[in-house]
């Protein structure tokens, strides 16, 4: 039993933490939030140069990591600093789907992803699919050598920056069948592809995406026809580990900002942290934080296991963190008072990142139901 990071991961954590503390200040981040693209190209390049993207891929894929604990090491740091750049979309979701299903030509794109010159987006969720991964109503129809896509995708993160959208569409089966779903690598400049972009509440951008008789060569299909679901589930599992670790990192920052505020804010002639009522609540936040840390470790440690074990641990982690993160976000704001309600204060952004995590790939209740179903299986 060893709960320490390996030397390589410790170095990655140290260098990423230093880089973000130095380059990703509140001021820089607030400028990024206000910007047209919702991200910084310089920061993205910096992260790539630092090897942060490469750490999320295996050696065979051109990286030097790719395991669950590599993901958590990176995303905990991104969460601590409130990073809004689309690591989840380009590297975890996009990268893993190509790595899992792509042929040699498609795999060659991973080099550009790891190098920081290519962005990806996973266009999967639809306006009424909520968090159901197998509910795909967009259609792909074979027409001679071509595939014709029709449908709509909802809240597609990073869609505007992506060179390729990885689009799920149904080639057979009913609306929520696991079988019959295919993935296609759709170039961003394809005719028949329409994006309506907008900023996200917690930073970054997304788009409503529609396909109207979008013609593609069959060679853009990732993997076999109708058989993409297991790869989607695996990529989303990795994304859930990343989201859990990101929330954990954000919770660390929220608790640290709260500790510091409680010790310095004077009311009634003394620091408010001397009031026992607040001390106890701060202690509860720390207890929840350590619960969250263990849940992340459980999930990351099972990412490479079979789907049932993997998904059970991930559902557990996302449910636990959904609860503990909400407590930490809300209690941090409450104990700060008005200052935490202001946009320019660090905690406001961190709290938004924490709460919005609950809207990607399933909220607290969704993961509770997943856990119940998987436990019974």
């Amino acid at each position: 039993m060893d709960f320490n990071l390996t030397d390589e991961r410790q170095m990655l954590q140290d260098s990423l933490r230093r880089y973000l503390a130095d380059k990703y200040t509140t001021k820089v981040r607030n400028e990024i939030l206000e910007s047209e693209t919702g991200m910084s190209g310089a920061i993205w390049t910096g992260l790539a140069d630092l090897g942060v993207i490469g750490a999320l891929f295996t050696e065979a894929q051109g990286g030097f990591g790719g395991a669950g604990f590599d993901i958590t090491t990176v995303f905990e740091e991104l969460g601590r600093a409130g990073v809004v750049e689309p690591m989840l979309d380009s590297a975890i979701l996009g990268g893993r789907l190509i790595a899992a299903l792509g042929d040699d030509a498609q795999q060659a794109l991973l080099g550009d992803v790891i190098g920081g010159t290519l962005h990806l987006a996973f266009a999967h969720g639809e306006p009424t699919s909520r968090y159901d991964l197998s509910r795909v109503q967009a259609t792909a129809v074979q027409n001679g050598d071509d595939i014709v896509l029709n449908g709509r995708k909802a809240v597609v993160a990073n869609a505007e920056a992506a060179g390729y959208l990885i689009v799920s569409a149904r080639e057979s089966g009913a609306a929520d069948d696991v079988d019959g779903i295919s993935l296609f690598l759709v170039p961003a400049d394809s005719a028949g592809l329409t994006l309506r972009g907008y900023p996200l509440f917690a930073g970054g951008r997304a788009a409503e995406v529609s396909f109207d008789d979008l013609h593609l060569p069959s060679s853009t299909r990732l993997g076999a026809a109708g058989a993409a679901y297991p790869a989607i589930a695996a990529a989303v599992a990795a994304a859930n580990v990343a989201l859990a670790a990101e929330a954990l990192g954000a919770m660390e920052t929220a608790t640290e900002l709260t500790r510091s505020y409680l010790m310095t804010r004077q009311q009634f002639g003394r620091p408010i942290g001397t009031f026992q009522a607040l001390q106890h609540r701060y202690s509860d936040m720390l207890i929840e934080l350590e619960q969250a840390r263990s849940a992340v470790i459980n999930a990351a440690g099972h990412l490479e296991r079979d789907a049932q074990q993997r998904d059970l641990q991930i559902a557990a982690a996302r449910n636990l963190i959904g609860r503990s993160a909400r407590l930490v976000a809300e209690e941090s704001i409450q104990m700060h008072g008005g200052i935490a309600m202001t946009q320019e204060y660090e905690l406001a952004h961190i709290a938004k990142r924490i709460v919005m995590t609950d809207h990607r790939f399933g909220d607290t209740d969704y993961h509770l139901e997943r856990f119940i179903a998987l436990s019974a299986a």
Binding site: P199, A202, Q334
Partner: protein
Amino acid sequence: MDLSYSPEELAFRDEVRSFLRDELPKELSDKVRSGAELGKADIERWHAILNARGWFAQNWPKEFGGAAWNAVQRHIFEEEAAMADAPRIVPFGLSMLAPVLQKFGSKAQQDHYLPRILNGDDWWCQGYSEPGAGSDLASLKTRAVREGDHYIVNGQKTWTTLGQHANMIFCLVRTDPDVKQQAGISFLLIDMDTPGIEVRPIILLDGTPEVNEVFFKDVKVPVENLVGEENKGWTYAKYLLTHERTNIAGVGFSRAGLDTLKRIARIEMSGGRPLIENPHFAARLAKVEIDLMAMATTNLRIISQAAGGAAPGVESSMLKVKGTIIRQEINDLTRRAVGPYAMPFPSETLEGNNDPVGPDYAGPQSAQYFNNRKLSIFGGSNEIQRGIIAKVKMGG
């Protein structure tokens, strides 16, 4: 024990309902329902409609042109108005300053300011909190020094709600720094156009410019703008706070919020069924509804005592704590209910000039969830309220 309204109260409720049905402009209720931001003109329009009916100054005595409603009548109106998606009445001049002027103000102040509040000639904001004086309000430092027939005011106020619309501000200022904190505070009325005043917006975490900082640099205020006696301001402020705490439970807001939540949960689908049929969601919804049903009766119990002349005690602190927890829980459930469509930032939809992203009800839900974190912070935080309850019940 009788849980029903009397025939007179029921008749009054019908009168309120038909008024809201006939007089509340659809443009305004649509904005409120969709969570869109109300502009100054929207709010002034609603105030004027109420005033034309004589229902704007609900809690003022008749001698000042008020409706002199009792607590039950005010409660009925607040609840019906919230359920009809009427704009909230902005309380600063009407129900916070006016009662202070009526009790402690000079005849000249009453004659000048009260009709102007009724007619919407003045928009008042509240100058209480300071960067260093939040929960500990009595530690405020904004200084007013008497020079001849003026006070010279220097300092800073913050969290000034809707100060960007205001032409007048009522302030707590320090006039004697050498005595116990509470004994050196005065209550001043200040014209926002006076040289030396600067208003800077504070953007809140949901992106809205709802509150402001107000800076005072050598601001000259005529001595006739002092309310009551010098250094008695704390007494007046405490009196004002008891008025701020009417409708503190926000039962009407919670009922309206619960209606919206149920409407959304019937439309949103989860696992192929309406979200409202999802057992986990339904259980959360039921719990908050059960809490609200009990709190509504607690609220009526206290209102009924108040209508009988009893002064509200710790019960108003209890209602503030429970009422804000319930409203915040409803906001949380509504944010969850809209699923992934809680993520888009609704800046465009809030301004009402773009098609919404996703269903029209989704846009404002995250913003409202975050904005309403303020409910347990302002007007005496829930921690301060709990302190009051313990202090009253346990002494000390």
